[in-house]
Amino acid sequence: MFKKVLVANRGEIAVRIIRACRELGLETVAVFSEADRQALHVRLADEAYLLGPAPSRESYLRADKIFEIIKKSGADALHPGYGFLAEREDFAQACHDDGIAFIGPKPSSIAAMGDKMTARETVRKAGVPVVPGTEDVGNMTDDELLAIAPKIGFPLLVKATAGGGGKGMREVRSLEEMPELLKSARREAESAFGDGNVYLEKLVEGARHIEIQVLADMHGNVIHLGERDCSIQRRHQKLVEEAPSPFMDEELRQRMGEMAVKAAQSVDYVNAGTIECLVDKDRNFYFLEMNTRLQVEHPVTEMVTGVDIVKEQIRVARGRPLQYKQEDIHFNGAAIECRINAEDPYNGFMPSTGKITHSLLPTGPGIRVDTGVYPGFEITPFYDPMISKLIVWGETRAQAILRMRRALEEYRIVGVRTNIPFHQTLMDSHRFMGGQYDTRFVEERFAINDTNDPELAEIAAALATLSAHQQTQRAAQFVQRNERDTSNWKWVGRWERMHR
């Protein structure tokens, strides 16, 4: 039974894991890059060790350094979080070889699901439906892919076999544009995963992205915690997730739940994992991939089931049987998560960096904020732009949406631009409220709010004018004072005070 957990990650998920460990009485070891000395996970952990310079390849991806720190700190378990080393079979294997409990699945399960092509084949053999696409396993050249593409039919998706999080993914509408898109997909995949291999999959249009959370222990028990609807995406990046899916009914939930358990069993799965599916208008579902790790969006499931997924991961990794049987899992109310990214929704969602000078978190009943940042912290260009997750729970989906609206309206982050206005517009949109959306909704049928509410425009005009006036007045005062008193040091003193 391990006692000290190294958290091989950063940001909100490192904080989330440290909190779970602390609540279970386990010691925690944080690792950090030079850019993250003051990051929240470093501040909250019992121990903290420097990995290296800011870029991930020189810090959070340095497995060798992490093993050094494991030795130095005496950690006997490791939680990889998501991203970075979370889905590296060799890394998980190295943990096992060193007698370190890896809080995640077996290396063989990671391998089986990590290569997306192999995964498709494995679950297909277990009777799980998959999206039509390339069926051979192994690296394929551009020429091979270009030859197969017409057989699958357009539109299709180029996807990284080592993929995840939408990276290295491209939509292809015709054979002509395919060579260029293959190149950029491989480039992004290479940069994100160190593996430029890609495969093809039919693009299922009008589909929803629905995923099933599973939990499995070392004693053969596998349960599912229902679904999350993650169809609100932009450039294949999830932006909003909710549980339950407004599209779901009990019969489909049961069918998909059984499928997910079967898929997990097909790779002898242990710990928490997620089966991602596309669900078309006719409620046919297709396996997309399995994420063999904790997901960003796990809190929505926690809020409707009451299960603390991270604590359960840790218990399972300690060899304990699952605390719950399938029949213990009940769904209560509705939860929604908005990913708050440091990016400018009014400027093509361009990432925004800088120091957070001030923030005000929404709080109160039914609100949870998972964040790794705080006022004074600097958002650097080295990592993911997601700086926090705002999760709300309501007795009904309508109440959750209303609560999310008020929480978004309250949330202040000063110093970087955020996509909060995007979420506000989304929560106001009738299609979202009606649950009428698919994975193309944001890109094809949604625009950030720029309608001109005449009353608000007048207020905006007042705000701008008062600000401009204040600026003019200050400048005038400065000149006046300067005229009154020109002794050098007083002048400088005032100038300094004004520019603080």
Binding site: G348, T353, P381, P421, D450, N452, L456, A457, L463, L466
Partner: protein
């Protein structure tokens, strides 16, 4: 002090009467306008209604983020406006455009060349930052006059990358 403030195509005549009163067009309203915690976040109580907004200057404009909407306002005092109206008659705004890096990052690809004609919305450069490949696009039609960086180069925020004439 009288100002003319323009949002989109709408003009508001705003007069600062004293510290606690303004006139907007024909209405006189109580105002109470304060920065919160010394931040560019302002609390405005106007005619009893309470608003809070991010307000920041952006070159010659003011940006106001209010209730999830972004407004861009141009504020001129009346005298300035009269002077401008009397003087230059709507100078052309088609000068050279300089594409600057919106954030620090790594130049990945520059799919255009000097002298090339480009269309509005065409990708001019791909910049990697925060694990994302960000496409920087042409804000209008034009010709690439100068490219100042190369693929593989690391750039600072606001560094000029290339120019469109």
């Amino acid at each position: 002090m009288r100002y003319v403030t323009k949002i989109d195509d709408q003009e508001f005549l705003v007069e600062i009467l004293d510290e606690k009163h303004i006139r907007i067009n024909d209405k006189i309203l109580d105002v109470d306008f304060e920065s919160v915690s010394g931040q560019p976040v302002y609390s405005l109580i106007i005619g009893g209604k309470s608003y809070e907004a991010y307000v920041s200057p952006d070159e010659d404009k003011w940006e106001i983020l209010l209730r999830g909407r972004l407004y861009q306002a141009q504020v001129e005092d009346e005298r300035e406006k009269r002077l401008r109206a009397a003087g230059s008659t709507g100078a052309s705004e088609s000068g050279e455009f300089h594409l600057r890096a919106p954030m620090p990052g790594l130049v990945v690809v520059i799919p255009v060349e000097e002298g090339q004609e480009v269309k509005k919305g065409q990708v001019l450069l791909i910049l990697e930052s925060m694990k994302m490949q960000n496409e920087l696009k042409a804000p209008r039609d034009g010709v690439i006059t100068r490219i100042k960086v190369r693929p593989g180069e690391t750039v600072e925020q606001k560094q000029t990358l290339l120019s469109v004439g």
